[in-house]
Amino acid sequence: MITVNHYMMLSAILFAIGTFGVLTRKNAIVIFMCIEVMLNSVNLTFIALSRHVGNMDGQIFVFFVMTVAAAEAAVGLALMIAFFRNKDSIDTDDFNLLKW
């Protein structure tokens, strides 16, 4: 029998993998994709708990997370294109314009 704890454990593992990717990768687009993995793991928690509680609110919240993720994708990728035009790279090591 699959309980809500199984889903929460799975989403904890996915969130940890996403954290690992964000902290170790250099490519900004891959970091962005790891953030998407983290967002999706939280979405899974929301839907599992919404099903467990018997309430629709968690699933509505997932809608808004998806909206914010879409907006973030549009703006973030535009930022990366603008950065690539100036530096010819999207390695996070080159993101040092504000460094002292």
Partner: protein, 167 residues
């Protein structure tokens, strides 16, 4: 039967999420990310949320991933495959293990309370999941819905301004 499906799909989801963080070519990472999204859609179907599964495939695996792959191909990042692609493996691994430890401790020791809401399997079967979502969204959450549309408008304008050469 449900347990077998759960464990197989969970294994595929975890493995493909790991490959997202480990593939050297960003296109491979993107394809693995699509696999993760599809596995999550399977979980949403198992949780009796078929509309969310459809949205997951259409919005995430469709729209957002097309955007990401478009940018990867536009910037032609495959050339950097041979260079060093990650750093801070020990520190990142330590922090990720810490996150996993804390969350699994909370999940393992805590109990999910508060069962017995009005949305049961029978209600979903009789009304349909889409209708329940629509009612909740356009009755209880109408103002957040409108605010989300304004957020999307702002994001469109911001993306256009950021990627223009001369403003």
């Amino acid at each position: 039967m449900e347990a077998i499906l759960f464990y197989i799909t969970a294994a595929v989801a975890i493995l493909s999420a790991l490959f997202v963080t480990q593939c050297r070519n960003p296109v491979n990472s993107a394809l693995n990310l699509i696999t993760t999204f599809l596995c999550l859609a399977v979980f949403y179907v198992m949780l009796e949320a078929p509309f969310m599964a459809a949205i997951q495939i259409m919005v995430y695996a469709g729209a957002i991933m097309v955007l990401i792959i478009f940018v990867i191909m536009l910037l032609n990042l495959g050339l950097a495959v041979k260079s060093r692609y990650s750093h801070g493996l020990a520190g990142g691994g330590f922090v990720a293990a810490l996150v996993l430890l804390v969350t699994s401790h909370f999940v393992g020791t805590g109990v999910a309370t508060g069962t017995g809401g009005e949305i049961t399997s029978e209600v979903i079967a009789s009304y349909g999941h889409t209708e329940l979502i629509g009612r909740a969204m356009f009755v209880d959450f109408l103002l957040p819905f409108e605010i989300a549309s304004i957020l999307l408008l702002v994001a469109i304008v911001g993306a256009v301004v950021l990627s223009k050469r001369k403003v």
